[in-house]
């Protein structure tokens, strides 16, 4: 194969690191969510690369499950953000660090 599996894994690691940095450094709750989605995508890429390398389809099947779970997680997380915003009028996570209200 022209492109080694290692290249895909390196790309997956770089994307995962960027996602982790986004989770730690951004203050907007929605941006934190989007960084989590970026980390999940990086994991999906690693899984599909290894599925192609080992010739088994279980990796691709697991990516299918991850996408489904990510969809439901995003729905519930955004619903929570919308509800919190109604009372606190802010989605800056510095203001949300206490579980009050």
């Amino acid at each position: 194969m022209a492109v080694q599996t290692e290249s895909y894994i390196m790309l997956s690691i770089v994307l995962f690191t960027l996602g982790a940095m986004g989770v730690l450094l951004r203050r907007n709750a929605i941006l934190v969510f989007m960084s989590i989605e970026l980390m999940l995508n990086a994991a999906n890429l690693a899984l599909v690369a290894f599925a192609r390398h080992w010739g088994g389809e279980t990796g691709q099947l697991f990516v299918f499950f991850i996408i489904t779970v990510a969809a439901s997680e995003v729905a519930i997380g955004l619903a929570l953000i919308v509800t919190i915003f109604r009372t606190k009028r802010s989605i800056n996570i510095d203001d949300l660090h206490e579980m009050k209200g």
């Binding site: 895909y8 940095m21 203050r27 941006l31 970026l38 099947l61 299918f64 995003v74 519930i76």
Partner: protein
């Protein structure tokens, strides 16, 4: 070479869009950059032989999840967040930035070293152990077949085949025992990833035995089907496979020869477009001698067929040549929707259904979380108990004013305002 360049371009696009997503001030811009990242990851999925997942990524991730993000950003009015974002001004969080950067560099360093030095590609995937089955195309009646000491076929009738069974490495003596007559033996060595057919063919009391290998790998072109042909004709003649409709009446030759020659007791395999075929097996030496005719023989996709040409004895010493066709379901192509659906509905049925329940629970949960009690409008409570004209009539009759000030009033709440941009 082009694949390497495509990978570099798409990978750089994914990383650049991810960086821009993190640095962007406007939340809508961040969402759009994330969509670019997801589409480039879908292109990478296509390069990794998984077209189904690429389409699912675009449809579900970029098409549904990110649209949901954009809905919520617009609903909360958070797209202008960056301008008012004070940054981590709280002193307790000021140590986040350098620690996060140091952790990121450490992760990149260690993961990069382990990936580049880890020799992922030196390991090859393990092959499945060799499998074998028995095909009876002989006229010796029902057969019992022993491989080693294991009985894998008992009273196998003409034209039937057993299921595949796998054997560990080693050398096995294959013993084919017809009902009448002595046994015929041969040896079998299982090899990893090889599918072997023990074909008993031939007329007469003692069957002849041959080992025919069948290739179950995916076909090169989608829609093709693979046919393995074994020449077991008793007259030991080499056959050719031609298209029966390509007979040129002038020269009496077949124009379209599919396989030039299959010598006796050997096999050949061919990938042909699926559908009905019009095949004719002719004697190689004398093309006008038609041995077996297969008109309108259907070979469907996703099937791997074994075709054994053999003699079938009928009464009074007459025999006719017969093809014995054993069809097996072929493995679907790697990464295609059919193969993933096959696994989802057989081996992974339980997780599939549990995920459906999870999505249902998530949907109900979202509705419950965001549900808001709608209190009735204030106007109903502010309406006078009695209309104004009637109060005038009453006060005229009673002689004093009917005043509403003494009536107990509910506290006046503030009216609902539109959501303001988050501060």
């Amino acid at each position: 070479m082009t694949e390497l360049w495509l990978f570099i371009i798409v990978g750089a696009l994914a990383v650049a869009a991810a960086v821009m997503m993190l640095l962007s001030e406007n939340a809508i811009h961040s969402a759009l950059f994330l969509i670019v990242t997801m589409v480039s990851i879908a292109v990478l999925f296509l390069m990794l032989n998984s077209p189904f997942l690429a389409m699912i990524q675009i449809t579900v991730y970029a098409g549904a999840i990110m649209v949901l993000f954009i809905f919520v950003i617009m609903l909360l009015g958070a797209e202008k967040l960056g301008l008012a974002d004070p940054g981590p001004i709280k002193s307790r969080f000021r140590w986040f930035t350098p620690v996060a950067l140091a952790l990121a560099l450490a992760l990149l360093f260690t993961a990069g070293i382990s990936t580049l030095q880890g020799n992922i590609d030196e390991k090859t995937p393990p092959l499945a152990p060799g499998e074998v089955r028995v095909v009876n195309a002989s006229n010796s009646g029902p057969l019992d077949v022993y491989v080693g000491s294991r009985l894998i076929a008992s009273s196998l009738p003409f034209g039937a085949a057993t299921e595949f069974t796998n054997f560990e490495a080693g050398q096995y003596i294959v013993s084919v025992r017809p009902v009448s007559g002595r046994e015929v033996t041969t040896t079998y060595l299982p090899a990893d990833g090889m599918f072997t057919n023990i074909v008993a063919y031939g007329s007469g009391e003692m069957p002849q035995v041959a080992l025919v290998e069948q290739n179950f790998a995916a076909v090169a072109r989608d829609g093709d089907t693979r046919v393995t042909i074994f020449n077991g004709i008793g007259s030991a003649a080499a056959v050719s496979l031609v298209d029966s409709r390509s007979l040129d009446t002038n020269t009496d030759q077949y124009v379209n020869t599919i396989i030039t020659s299959i010598p006796a007791s050997t096999s050949a395999s061919i990938d042909t477009p699926s559908g009905e075929v019009n095949w004719r097996f002719i004697d190689t030496t004398s093309p006008s001698n038609t041995l077996v005719d297969l008109t309108a023989q259907p070979f469907t996709t996703h099937q791997n067929s074994l075709l054994v040409l053999t003699d079938q004895e009928r009464g009074d010493n007459a025999s006719r040549l017969l093809p014995v066709i054993i069809s097996t379901t072929a493995l679907p192509e790697f990464g295609s929707p059919r193969s993933i659906g096959f696994s989802l509905l057989t081996q992974f049925l339980l997780p599939f259904q549990v995920l459906g329940l999870l999505l249902l629970a998530g949907m109900v949960g979202v509705i419950v979380i965001t549900h808001r009690e709608m209190r009735p409008s204030r106007k109903i409570q502010q309406r006078r108990k009695v209309s104004r004209s009637l109060t005038n009539v009453i006060s005229a009759q009673v002689g004093q004013d009917v005043s509403e000030e003494d009536l107990p009033q509910l506290p006046q709440p503030e009216p609902d305002t539109e959501p303001e941009p988050a501060s």
